[in-house]
Amino acid sequence: MEDRFDIAIIGSGPAGLSAAINAKIRNKKIIVFGSRDLSNKLLKAPKINNYLGFYDISGVELKEKFKQHIDHLGIEITYERINNVYAMGDYFALMVNDKMYEATALVLATGMESSKLLKGEEEFLGKGVGYCATCDAPLYKGKVVTIIGYNREAEEEANYVNELAGKLYYIPMYRKDMKLDQNIEIVNDIPVEVVGEDHVQSLKTKKGELTTDAIFVLKDSISPAQLVPGLAIENEHIKVDRNMSTNLKGCFAAGDCVGRPYQYIKAAGEGLIAGQSAVAYVDSQKNK
């Protein structure tokens, strides 16, 4: 395992990067998890006129400015996807499949996932609905399992679960050639609702209904509450105070994931506060 970082920042949009530069300036050992394009939403913006100091700029141009800024400070982005973060008490454990990073403080800047939850998905979470098929697969030995896959990685999980499950349905939410084991039944339909009593019994779809013991929903990014178990959420957003502190000690959040309005400069401003709060928290831990 690598040494413990002072601050781990999840997300490379304006909030995450603003947190990163403010923590870096204060000499903290940081790690930033994100993507090569920094933020997909930034790439898509044709014209931005409300970012103070950069009038009439395109999203791509603004992204370049951000990139130059972090490069200048020697901030690198780690292109890995965090599956789960565990609040262990005095540090956070960040999991990337089997690999683990440790950090004293955490800044969440994950943006907002626009795809909606299925009806009943939340209600049956842990009662047949899950987000990590490989984690819970052995509990469904010989049973009927349905996987709703939003990306190619879901296919690998499906093939693994297929070795244990009695029957596996795969519902692809994308259009691509699939590499699935032969006896997996591909269902080209749209899921609508999770149905059951004390646990999952079936999945209603647009065209029909599948009887199933478990439903796994495998998306690109999971909601903050699933990413960080125990994190308090209010009206779909991470609950924070004026210092961008969440309910978990040492965990801060900034940007779209904490609430509207969804704007670049608001995200950057919150990132600054979250970054500085994280710095203050790390210092207080060191002087304990």
């Binding site: 609040a87 262990m88 047949g128 984690c135 509990l139 478990a214 178990p229």
Partner: protein
């Protein structure tokens, strides 16, 4: 912390008058590995008031089925042999502590 087996579940948990905690886990489960040490820490702090134990769901499928454990880690709190609280998934130490203190 006691590692429970199918045969002693009735005696240790179901017939126990006080408050007992069971951590349902399995060796292949990542979040179980993370919550394990937290439960261990709490057993040191609250062990004289709550009976702490764990059950490997791989080796004791019948118990897992009986209590409808559909996802792990699952932590169940028993009071007088009845399930008083079911906590599915990883919980931060702070939160687990707050919940358990209600039973102290």
């Amino acid at each position: 912390m006691k590692e429970l087996l199918e045969n002693d579940f009735t005696e240790e948990i179901e017939n126990y008058d006080g408050v007992a905690l069971v951590d349902f886990w399995a060796p292949w489960c990542g979040p179980c590995k993370m919550i394990g040490p937290i439960v261990e820490q709490l057993s040191e702090e609250l062990g004289d008031k709550i009976k702490f134990s764990k059950l490997n769901v791989d080796d004791n499928e019948a118990i897992a089925r009986k209590y409808k454990v559909m996802s792990i880690p699952t932590i169940m709190v028993f009071k007088g042999g009845e399930v008083a609280d079911t906590l599915v998934g990883f919980r931060p130490k702070q939160e687990l502590e707050t919940i358990l203190k209600k039973y102290v």
